[in-house]
């Protein structure tokens, strides 16, 4: 800031016309790029950006009526494009600051008698010291548009009355924190939330642990020296992996249904069939869910762990063998710490994935609302409940509010775990 105030008119000009300072000092390419950015931004704002931002606040003023031929406003589109416009504005401000900084830098170099960096040099830098910028631009833009934008959209929806009978062409309005008030004051809500959250955490922990250790164990087993035909044995889990999850789930659902093959066999022995997944089968259904999830997830963890195992530093093992370490000691002292380190992100990813595992119980045991639960069954996870609320029952804004609450809780937990994990804190352990 100081630098800017102390700078010459050339830099100050580039505060008005981006890139002009750079041009003055002879950095033509850079200057032109900045000017183009400014022109592009202004054009965007004039063409739609400005009205999008206005729309963000009003969420539409004329209701569409196809019968009368009124075109009208679509509140949801306006909200989304409004957010988009804000993102563009934010990106522009960032570039704007960058522009002034670069103008200051150039001036400083010139005033100390050096020539400003040439455009070619800066490009070269992008391939070397600043390689990360080159690489990350595309993913960051992609993630911003297709991940962050929808999430912001969802968060903002929880402050509107979108849902129920208020869907386009009806106009949506901002309602402040009404939805959150409603959730907190509703007596039916809290017990269901507590029950489902409890089960959800149990489910996430148990299935993550089970999947992870089963996958890791399988990879280690296949990695043993005495196993011949590794590719052959590895092919079976891959086969399971190759069949899409929803098909596997539908197949398992049928397998455990009353008319399915397992019950057919039970019936053949003369005993009464078992309702593995019916409405009284609370813990049985939960157990089946955990096992089926394990069947689906283990192959990919195994594949990944196999990849990691091949990346071990074998010279350490050589040394250990010379020192007389038994295979078990080698496993405990070398393999395990290494694998835990390298796969903590997997563990975390698994946890997140399982926490939000929508498919398992949607396919295995959908379509029941149990006593003691508000619009949910006793195997439903939070995400299934959210689906029931926001898609099946159209409470879109309430669903968004609940997902925001869940999101805050879960992300706080997992963030705390992640920040403490060795793969975050000690990224260099195995260097």
């Amino acid at each position: 800031m100081r630098k800017f105030l102390d700078s010459s008119w050339r830099v100050k000009l580039s505060a008005l016309i981006m890139g002009s300072g750079q041009l003055m000092y002879g950095c033509v390419a850079k200057g032109i790029i900045y000017i183009l950015i400014e022109i592009g931004f202004i054009a965007y704002m004039v063409i739609r950006g400005f009205s999008d931002i206005v729309g963000f606040f009003t969420l539409g003023t004329t209701k569409a009526d196809a019968w009368l031929g009124t075109v009208g406003d679509n509140s949801v589109v306006m909200l989304l494009m409004g957010i988009f416009a804000w993102i563009v504005v934010a990106a522009f401000i960032y570039l704007y600051v960058l522009n002034i900084k670069s103008a200051c830098d150039i001036e400083e170099r010139v005033s100390t008698g050096r020539a400003p960096k040439s455009f070619i040099d800066e490009l070269k830098e992008l391939l070397d010291r600043k390689f990360y910028i080159t690489v990350l631009v595309l993913p960051v833009v992609g993630v911003c548009i297709f991940n962050i934008l929808p999430i912001i959209f969802m968060i903002l929806i929880s402050f509107t009355n979108y849902g129920g009978s208020i869907v386009p062409p009806e106009l949506v309005d901002w309602v402040g924190i009404d939805n959150f008030k409603k959730i907190l004051t509703l007596s039916k809500f809290a017990p269901t939330f507590a029950r489902i959250l409890g089960w959800n955490i149990l489910w996430a922990v148990v299935s993550t642990a089970l999947n992870y250790f089963a996958g890791l164990g399988l990879a280690l087993l296949l990695n043993k020296d005495c196993v011949k035909g590794k590719a052959f044995f590895r092919a079976f889990p891959v086969l399971a992996y190759a069949i899409p999850g929803f098909i596997t789930l539908l197949a398992f659902k049928f397998m455990f249904s009353y008319g399915g093959p397992i019950n057919q066999m039970i019936k053949a022995t003369g005993t009464a069939p078992i309702g593995f997944l019916d409405l009284d089968a609370k813990w049985m259904a939960r157990l089946i869910g955990i096992l089926v999830n394990c069947w689906i997830s283990v192959p990919s963890i195994m594949l990944l762990a196999t990849g990691h195992l091949s990346n071990r530093d074998m010279s350490l093992y050589e040394a250990a063998r010379i020192d007389g370490a038994t295979p078990f000691q080698q496993f405990r002292k070398l393999t395990m710490p290494f694998m835990l380190f390298a796969t903590t992100p997997v563990l975390l990813g698994q946890f997140i994935g399982n926490f939000n595992n929508f498919g398992i119980f949607y396919f295995l045991r959908g379509g029941l609302y149990m006593d003691g639960y508000f619009l949910a069954s006793d195997t439903d996870l939070l995400i299934n409940w959210l689906y029931n609320l926001s898609i099946d029952n159209n409470y879109y804004c309430i669903g968004a509010a609940i997902s925001l609450i869940i999101f805050i809780i879960t992300s706080a937990i997992s963030l705390a775990v992640y920040v403490k994990s060795p793969s975050y804190r000690e990224e260099d352990t195995f260097q």
Partner: protein
């Protein structure tokens, strides 16, 4: 031109509001006919293509192809072509239409179509102009009517009536049915005339051979099971299925209907708890494990094909198998119920069975560029010949009286049931989507109850059933109102 009129209309509306309340009602009636008249001017748009969304069965059985061919030939002179929209039959017009990705004309059940009407995603139609207008009963038109700002509009054109049907096989009847199972001597077996005899016969079959069953149907399916509640005074929503504050699954003697269901379940096996029977009925009816089941008319061909296959496996030639299947597979309307709800009662006084049902028909998307051409298509597709062809190809029960009359038999029965009010039409409001899961849960529980040990049974008497139904109503009410 159209736009101009619309603008004038908006101006008028603004004026009336300014002028105050007094003139409002008068102006409203004047406006009543206007949206339809301004949209459907009667001038055909020329050289346009209409995207028509039909249901999958109509496409796969070749009916749709014949329909558009016939239409395209007739309207070649105007350059109007109808094509298959090539989209999912269950697409959501409310989501796709506004962005220009929907069809121009769509065929759907009345409850689906009318949900679009609420958001004005489909046009109100000048149905009086249509050829089929006078032939379709009031009850069917009602299914497509919506009240907007005090005026009633019709937003769809009925094509056929959908309601549960009883499927059974005559070759599985007892050989002596004419002497022992036809008390009223009308040449129709008693077990398909009333549920008491069906119950008795199911029991007998199962006792003679534990691997065989009489009547089988998964209970959990609300569409099929709720009819039993309706027959004894139950209903979905009050005030002609519009008042969501009044949920009537437990109203009247609906608990007797639930009792009937649980008695029927006692002669089935555990398959009736989940959806097993819904999916295996085709092959189980064919191989003789089941004697009868419920399904909709459009599944006739699936039952028929399975039966033909089974006969062929028994060594018949294809033609013989087909003839035998036509003869033995019967689709008929539902048996009558005992007034008392007791299926073991001898000589009960009988009442009609009501069923949940729907009227499928055509609607025109509000996002079409050529409403008049679309209307011409709908008019064409609902004319006498096309509806008759539709029946021949797809076995549907037409909503047109002249076709139903000519076909006689089942089509006529269905038509009469609709007129008598025995087909309870699915509500046309959005909230209908929220009755399924609570209903499903109750019926699953009811089915499961038949297989619980005596001490654990939940529904031991009529009062318990009533309480169960009330629970279900409360759940539905919660689902609809709690978070409003």
């Amino acid at each position: 031109m159209k736009r101009k009129i619309a603008l004038v209309l908006i101006g008028m509306m603004a004026l009336t509001t300014l002028a105050g309340c007094k003139s409002e009602s008068k102006e409203a009636t004047k406006e009543a006919a206007s949206p339809t008249n301004t949209i459907f001017t009667g001038e055909l748009e020329e050289n346009v293509t209409i995207q028509v969304l039909e249901n999958d069965t109509a496409i796969s059985k070749g009916y749709f192809d014949e329909l558009i061919k016939a239409f395209n030939k007739e309207y070649e002179k105007y350059g109007i072509t109808a094509v298959d929209a090539n989209m999912d039959q269950y697409l959501d017009l409310a989501n796709d239409g506004p962005y220009g990705y929907g069809p121009d004309v769509l065929y759907q059940a009345n409850d689906v179509i009318m949900q679009y009407a609420e958001g004005k995603h489909i046009y109100p139609l000048p149905v009086e102009q249509l050829d089929c207008y006078s032939q379709i009963p009031e009850a069917a038109w009602k299914a497509y009517q919506v009240d907007v700002e005090g005026n009633t509009y019709t937003c769809g054109v009925p094509v056929n009536v959908q309601a549960p049907m009883l499927y059974y096989r005559t070759d599985l009847l007892p050989e002596d049915w004419k002497s022992n199972w036809d008390d009223n001597k009308n040449d129709v077996p008693d077990m398909v005339e009333n549920w008491n005899d069906m119950y008795a016969y199911s029991k007998e079959i199962h006792e003679v051979n534990p691997d065989k069953y009489g009547y089988m149907k998964s209970l959990y399916d609300v569409y099929f099971s709720s009819g039993f509640l309706f027959s004894y005074g139950g209903y979905i929503f009050g005030d002609n299925n519009t008042d969501t504050n009044d949920i009537g699954f437990a109203a009247g003697d609906a608990n007797k209907g639930a009792w009937v269901l649980s008695q029927l379940a006692s002669n089935m096996n555990e398959d009736c708890i989940d959806d097993t029977i819904t999916t295996n009925a085709y092959s189980k009816l064919a191989d003789g494990t089941y004697f009868a089941t419920l399904s909709t008319p459009d599944t006739y061909t699936t039952f028929y094909d399975s039966l033909v296959e089974e006969y062929e496996n028994d060594g018949l030639t294809e033609d013989e198998a087909r003839d035998k299947a036509i003869e033995n597979l019967v689709m008929t309307s539902l048996p009558k119920l005992p007034e008392s709800g007791d299926l073991t009662e001898e000589n009960p006084s009988l009442i009609d069975t009501k069923t949940m049902g729907g009227v499928n028909g055509y609607a025109i998307s509000s996002y079409t560029k050529c409403p008049n051409a679309c209307l011409a298509f709908v008019d064409f597709a609902t004319n006498y010949e096309m509806i008759k062809l539709r029946n021949e190809k797809l076995g549907i029960a037409p909503a047109r009286e002249d076709v139903a009359e000519e076909l006689g038999g089942l089509s006529k029965q269905m038509y009469e049931n609709l007129e008598k009010g025995n087909v309870v039409l699915m509500p046309s409001i959005k909230e209908v989507g929220q009755i399924w899961t609570p209903g499903q849960t109750f019926f699953t529980d009811l089915a499961k109850d038949s297989f619980r040990p005596e001490s654990e049974k939940k529904f031991k008497d009529l009062d318990a059933l009533k309480a169960g139904l009330e629970d279900m109503c409360n759940q539905i009410s919660d689902a609809i109102h709690t978070l409003e």
